[in-house]
């Protein structure tokens, strides 16, 4: 594991928390649109993935805190894994296979085994037919299988039906004369849930702080200057805004839901990375050794999971460096049919992706510096979870298995805040306090508050891949 990036030159702390210390300010985030993304980048940089996605792919409004959708559970074609060895079965003889919890459902009481199903052994293509099944013992269902050929044993290449042998379901073939109906296979759906969560921040200053001239200059917009806002308070408001933007990004990318007692009643939201950790694939590699062989392993995994041809890869500083110039030269992007919205070439250039074309996949790679604690906070942890870390996300769509509605693989979801103040892009900004242009009480403070309610819908998480060094 490489050491972190030295940060001793960065002064700490950069800010302190006080109970008190106004405007602008939300206007640009509230009206962020693709055509103005360039201006956003000039002001805020081009690191933020969820803000880029929201601008170019749009957001979806939800009416309730919780939102859900349905996906197919597993693949359409079935296979099971044998868990008890059958030693040297004779040619043509019936054998008993056993499957375990990995192939059972509903506390181990149900499985896809059905009488009449033809099975094919994955390692040597030998076929057999299920004669009887026994689901009496939870998570240890058995079936008797007879090979189709009298000259073949229902066994793998070693002569045994080994533990771990994959048996592929081939349907009701050789159904016979005057055949009857085989039991149907009930395809399973799975409901996924997530919530929008409340993310807020605020700035507060007293009348004297607002009115004080400071010796340094900070560009204050004309209308604010006319309201008596000076450089110090303006700078504080601006920094609060940027911090709010960063916290929204961090929560949607790295944050997770809240379940513990002793906290407030908020349920939080499951962010992108916890979702992929739970339901996606994870590929490990040796640090500083992300090579072509590993890329081929990754594209094989993408093939298995039906990944879309256009995928984005967000890599931390270290992982991005592992993509040596050699890899980019060896797999140039070349001609490619770009999509629309976040899949367009313009959006890709706006965000700063660099593309490679490998194994029929367009991989758009971007250094995502918010992964590195050194970059965001100026501190160097000995162990940083997101060092040598990257994630691959397919820029595709999937269908809800219940409604057939089409969803993008990642969608930023938001709930419209209550009316009041200014609202745009699901962000509400309001001012209050005796010292504000909207005097609400007798205390001479200017309070500026901002809130948004956001979450992510991540569909077909099995297509997402975390690439992580140990």
């Amino acid at each position: 594991m490489p050491a972190g990036i030295p940060t001793s030159n960065i002064l700490q702390p950069g800010a302190i928390s006080l109970s008190t210390q106004n405007r602008q300010l939300m206007v640009d985030l509230q009206i962020l649109m693709p055509q103005w993304y360039k201006s956003y980048v000039e002001k805020y940089g081009n690191e933020d993935f969820t803000w880029w996605l929201a601008a170019h792919a749009g957001m979806e409004e939800v009416k309730n805190q919780n939102f859900f959708w349905f996906e197919n559970r597993g693949k359409l074609m079935e296979a099971v894994t044998n868990t008890v060895q059958v030693a040297a079965p004779a040619a043509g003889a019936t054998v008993t296979i056993t499957i375990g919890s990995a192939d059972c459902f509903n506390a181990g009481t149900q499985s896809p085994l059905r009488v009449g199903e033809t099975l094919r052994i994955a390692s040597n293509n030998v076929e057999g037919k299920i004669l009887t099944i026994n689901k009496a013992v939870a998570n240890a269902h058995t079936a008797t299988v007879r090979p189709l050929k009298s000259t073949q044993a229902f066994a793998g290449p070693t002569g045994n039906l080994e533990i771990g042998e994959v048996l592929i379901f081939a349907g009701d073939t050789e159904a016979g004369e005057a055949s009857t109906q085989i039991d149907p296979l009930i395809h399973l759906d799975k409901q996924y849930n997530n919530n929008v969560t409340e993310i807020r921040d605020g700035w507060s200053n007293t009348d004297l702080a607002q009115m004080a001239e400071t010796y340094y200059e900070y560009p204050v917009s004309g209308d604010l200057a006319a309201n008596g806002v000076r450089a110090f308070t303006y700078k504080g408001m601006h920094k609060t805004l940027v911090r709010f933007k960063n916290n929204v990004e961090a929560k949607l990318m790295k944050g997770d839901s809240q379940t513990n007692t002793g906290l407030n009643t908020s349920v939080g939201t499951q962010g992108l990375i916890p979702k992929i950790v739970a339901d996606g694939e994870t590929v490990g590699y040796g640090a500083a050794n992300l090579d072509i062989a590993k890329l081929h392993e990754i594209t094989r995994i993408m093939d298995v999971n039906g990944c879309d041809k256009q995928c984005a890869w967000l890599a931390d500083i270290f992982q991005r460096q592992d993509f040596s110039d050699g890899i980019f030269k060896e797999f140039p992007a070349g001609a490619f049919v770009w999509g629309q919205g976040e899949k367009s070439q313009d959006a890709s250039v706006a965000y700063g992706f660099q593309s490679i074309y490998i194994d029929e996949y367009m991989l758009q790679i971007k250094k995502y510096t918010p992964f590195n604690t050194e970059v965001t906070t100026g501190k160097t942890p000995t162990t940083d979870y997101f060092r040598n870390f990257g994630l691959i996300y397919p820029m595709g769509e999937t269908k809800d298995s219940r409604t057939a509605a089409t969803y993008k693989n990642i969608t930023v979801m938001y709930q419209q805040p209550p009316a009041g103040g200014t609202i745009g892009n699901g962000i509400r900004l309001w001012q209050y306090g005796g010292g504000s242009p909207n005097p609400t009480d007798g205390t001479m403070t200017n309070q500026l508050a901002m809130i948004t309610y956001r979450g992510l819908r991540v569909c077909s998480a099995n297509k997402f891949i975390i690439v992580q060094a140990n």
């Binding site: 506390a107 109906q181 739970a278 062989a293 998480a461 140990n470």
Partner: protein
């Protein structure tokens, strides 16, 4: 046997799976540090420590560990067909060889099975710092696993079942007076949920047995704990207004004036008073003496 999809099948298709309870950390560690199981004759089984992953995990096949032979910090690398796992011993290999012989170890549904004849793979898995039972485990490793031992798993599961049985029997046979004190300590209510009336002894015992079943370890650890009696007395004198909790924030007084103690941050007033009574200090002994007097 029906061969048509029915309404229950529709409901089942939309239902969530019922999963087995995860193995607790102490059992995991026992398995990790035990000798490999002899029950599985053909395969060794490894399981991920984090069991909440539904997708596959592809383990990196390189690591830096202390070589048990040389006691030096060395790189090990798993390559197919290469006898040694130590990079320094992997001689005469071209970059192409290394690229094409790199191995992949994949946990499917948190489980990895390796045939016993794959000695190099097993040596790698048992030596790597990602194995929590290895000689030099890395606690901050991104990928952590242990070698599953079915005998230990069965023994620990049996212990858990026996503990639950013991707790239920203890709950069933506990004398009423002692039961009520323990019920109060376990924060089980004495009033019926629906009517609000005080529960009978039978109703209290029913809930007491349920608590024993739900968490037998806590039940058995606390049933003879002196804190149970103290807690009961504290709650009694508070309910009889002999102790004043509201006179000053975070401070507890006797109703007739004298200061008792401050509430420790993160604790309830009852917990702070119980803690005081159990301490062997002068204030603790005095408080306990007066408590025993006032709770009569």
């Amino acid at each position: 046997m029906s061969n048509s999809a029915g309404i229950t099948d529709v409901h089942t298709s939309q239902a969530a799976d019922v999963l087995d309870a995860p193995i607790d950390n102490s059992t995991m560690l026992k398995m990790a540090q035990a000798e490999p199981s002899k029950v599985e004759a053909t395969h060794a089984v490894f399981k991920l420590v984090e069991t909440h992953r539904n997708g596959r995990v592809h383990l990196p096949t390189e690591d830096y560990v202390v070589n048990p032979g040389t006691k030096e910090y060395e790189k090990m690398r798993l390559l197919k067909g290469v006898q040694s796992i130590w990079e320094k011993d992997q001689k005469n290999l071209t970059p192409h060889d290394i690229k094409t012989h790199a191995m992949s170890l994949t946990f499917e549904k948190n489980v990895l099975r390796i045939p016993l004849y794959e000695k190099q793979t097993l040596e790698f898995l048992r030596t790597t710092s990602m194995n929590i039972g290895s000689k030099t485990p890395n606690k901050s490793a991104k990928f952590r696993f242990y070698e599953y031992n079915s005998e230990i798993a069965a023994q620990e599961a049996l212990k858990q079942e026996e503990l639950e049985l013991e707790a239920i029997i203890a709950a069933k046979d506990m004398p009423v007076a002692k039961m009520r004190k323990h019920v109060a300590y376990l924060n089980i209510t004495f009033a019926d949920d629906i009517t609000g009336m005080p529960k009978t002894d039978e109703a209290v015992r029913r809930d007491y047995i349920r608590a024993a079943k739900r968490n037998p370890k806590v039940f058995m650890d606390t049933k003879e704990d002196p804190a149970v009696d103290i807690s009961f007395m504290v709650k009694k004198v508070i309910s009889e207004s002999k102790i004043d909790l509201g006179k000053q924030p975070n401070s507890i007084f006797w109703a007739n004036g004298p200061f008792i103690c401050k509430v420790t941050p993160g604790q309830t007033p009852v917990d702070s008073l119980v803690e005081l009574a159990l301490t062997n200090s002068k204030e603790g002994r005095e408080f306990k003496e007066r408590l025993q007097h006032d709770a009569r």
